[in-house]
Every structure is written in C-alpha cells, then in structure tokens.
C-alpha cells in the first residue's frame, strides 16, 4: 500500500522490477473462503492456481500456508507474461477446471493492478458455468450455491448450480494471516508446474497497450468565504 508506482520512461507500462509482489487482496479473500468451506467439510480439496513467472510460486506458497492443499503454477514469462490478461488467464482456468474436475472456481473480483474485473466472468462463459460475482456471502446448499452479491444500490441474492464460478468482494470474509509456522508446514505441500501449451491454451493477446501515463495532477481546491465570492470565482474561471 505504500509503494510509489512509476511509469516506465517509454510509457509502455509501469515499473515492476524490484517492486514487492504479493497476493491480490481480493484473491486473499477468495482463498480464505475456499479454505473456510473446506474447514466446514463442504468441499474436499482446495487447489491454489497462479499464472506467471517463477515468483508467483511465493504467492502460491502463501495460499498453501493459508490452508490450500496443493498448488498449480502455470508458467508464463517474458513477452507472453507482459501481454497476459483476463482472456488468457480465463482460458487457462477453464482448461484446468476441466482437467481437475473442479466443482467451484473462486477468485478475487478484480486484480488491483489492472482493475479489469473480467477473469471470473470470462472463465464462467468459457465453461458455460453459472457465476456468482461480487460475492459478500456464500452458502453451499447441496448441489447449489446461494450467493449474496454486492451491486449498485444494495444486495442481490441468487441461487446457482455447481459447478460454478464465484468472485470475492471485500466484505466476504477476513483473510487469515499466513504465519511463519503455517508457512513452514506448507513447505511439504506440492506445487505442480506446467505451461499454457500443456493445457492447449494459446497466449496470443488481442489487446495492444498503446501508452501508459500517470493520472493528471489534481489542482488544489479553493475555499471561499461567502456565496458572492463563490459566484465571482465561478465567473472568473468561465464556469458561469
């Protein structure tokens, strides 16, 4: 939360070298929900999946420390990783879901680095599975899932059949901290390694980033004493 984000001099993206990476906060909530469901004995096994270069294994380790049973690292690096977006990731997730015969896919509603909010929805569409997005409450009832969703203007409750895709919103739960003893214990858990090609997924991107800029600096607000002052200032800058 304290790192200063810098745009690369060539405006092709932001500087990521040397920046400490950690699990996306909404995905932490997703992992917590999955582990909770397993602790309630409503699901059998939790598999943590991450797509990216070698460093993502650290994030998978954190998920294992939080209680996931095993991990899968889908290796994507270099140009493929730079171009990787929700479409490629959801193709990978869809292929894995079929291979692993998953009944639930739980992920964060969006990643805080790109704010796409698309991966969950795309994954559900590719699999033709129902989706419960922006979940603030999840209840499993037999083969169905009741999801309370945060939407503009309030909450919506839906009931969907499994297998399904759920995306976690901020108030779904309070993620546990991955403590040192848990991280030590998690070292015994396995992380499988594979490439997108092994899943029959092509990583070609249909999106090209043209330019990345910092947001324009906001001008400071001006305080006025009276209504007349306000009117005068609005006239002066041409608003009225």
């Amino acid at each position: 939360e304290n790192t200063k984000i810098r745009v690369k001099p060539d405006h092709s993206g932001v500087v990521t070298d040397g920046v400490k990476h950690s699990m996306n906060p909404f995905c932490e909530i997703a992992v917590e929900e999955a582990v909770k469901l397993k602790e309630k004995k409503l699901i059998k096994e939790v598999v943590a999946v991450s797509c990216g270069p070698t460093q993502v294994t650290e994030t998978i380790r954190t998920a294992l420390a939080m209680g996931c049973d095993r991990g899968i690292h889908v290796e994507v690096s270099g140009k493929d990783y730079e171009a990787m977006g929700p479409l490629q990731i959801s193709k990978i997730f869809a292929a894995l879901a079929k291979k692993e015969e998953a009944s639930l896919i739980i992920l964060g509603k969006q990643a805080i680095d790109d704010d796409c909010n698309q991966t969950g929805q795309m994954t559900a569409a590719l699999l033709d599975w129902p989706q419960g997005t922006f979940a603030s409450e999840v209840t499993i009832d037999g083969e169905k899932v009741k999801v309370v969703r945060e939407i503009d203007g309030g909450l919506e409750t839906i009931k969907i059949s499994m297998p399904a895709v759920l995306t976690a919103d901020l108030r779904l739960n309070t993620p546990r901290y991955a403590t040192l003893p848990n991280i030590m214990k998690a070292k015994k858990k396995k992380i499988a390694n594979m490439k997108p090609a092994d899943l029959g997924v092509d990583m070609v991107s249909r999106v090209e980033v043209l330019r990345v800029d910092e947001p324009p600096t906001r001008l400071a607000g001006v305080k006025v004493e009276t209504v007349d002052d306000l009117v005068a200032k609005l006239r002066a800058n041409g608003t009225i």
Partner: protein
Amino acid sequence: MVIWTRLPNRGKVVKAATVSGSDMANPLRREVRQLYKNLLFLGREYPKGADYFRERLKSAFMKNKDVTDPKEIKKLVDRGEFVIKELEALYYLRKYRAMKKRYYEDEMSAVLNIGRPVD
C-alpha cells in the same frame, strides 16, 4: 550443554552426549524461541519498518531474559501471542481500509451522507 564421562578401564574422558539447551529442563525455551521467530516474521511488514520492530522486539525479550518462574514465562508468552493477534489485526485493517478507500469511496460518502470527498 555437554555431558562428559570417564571410561571405566583407562579413565579417559570422552564426550558422552551433547544435550541441546532447548530440550533441557525448560521446555518453555522452545516456545519462547518460536514466539520470537514468529514475531520477527510478522515484524517485516510493520509500518515503522522491520528494523524498528526488530530492535524493540529484541529489547523486550532481553528485558525478561532472567525470568525463571514457569508461570511468569507462560504469562509473558501469552502476552507475545496477544501482540501477534494485534499485529495481524493491524495488517488486515490497513489493507481493508486501503481497498475500501480505493474502491468504495462513493459508497462511503453515501453512507455518511456527505459530499464527494476532496483529495
């Protein structure tokens, strides 16, 4: 701690065993060491910096290094566990508030019945 023994025939002194301090009379020693390691691990994300945290953690433990009463040690360990819980809560709240501010600002001003927040 090392145990030396004298062999029966020639009276030669031989090292019979090395007993590690942690398995010795005080099993709480292991608990205290693990507590220190756990707190040190948590301290990496401390707002005022990992070094600041480590200094204060070390001096807090050193201050009590001569305590021998197991009941007292247990009380201190419990206090350490409490600090762990406090730090976990601190880190969670910090992240939650950052996310709330970033993504739910409009919602908050609606709930608090105030205008759009100005930077």
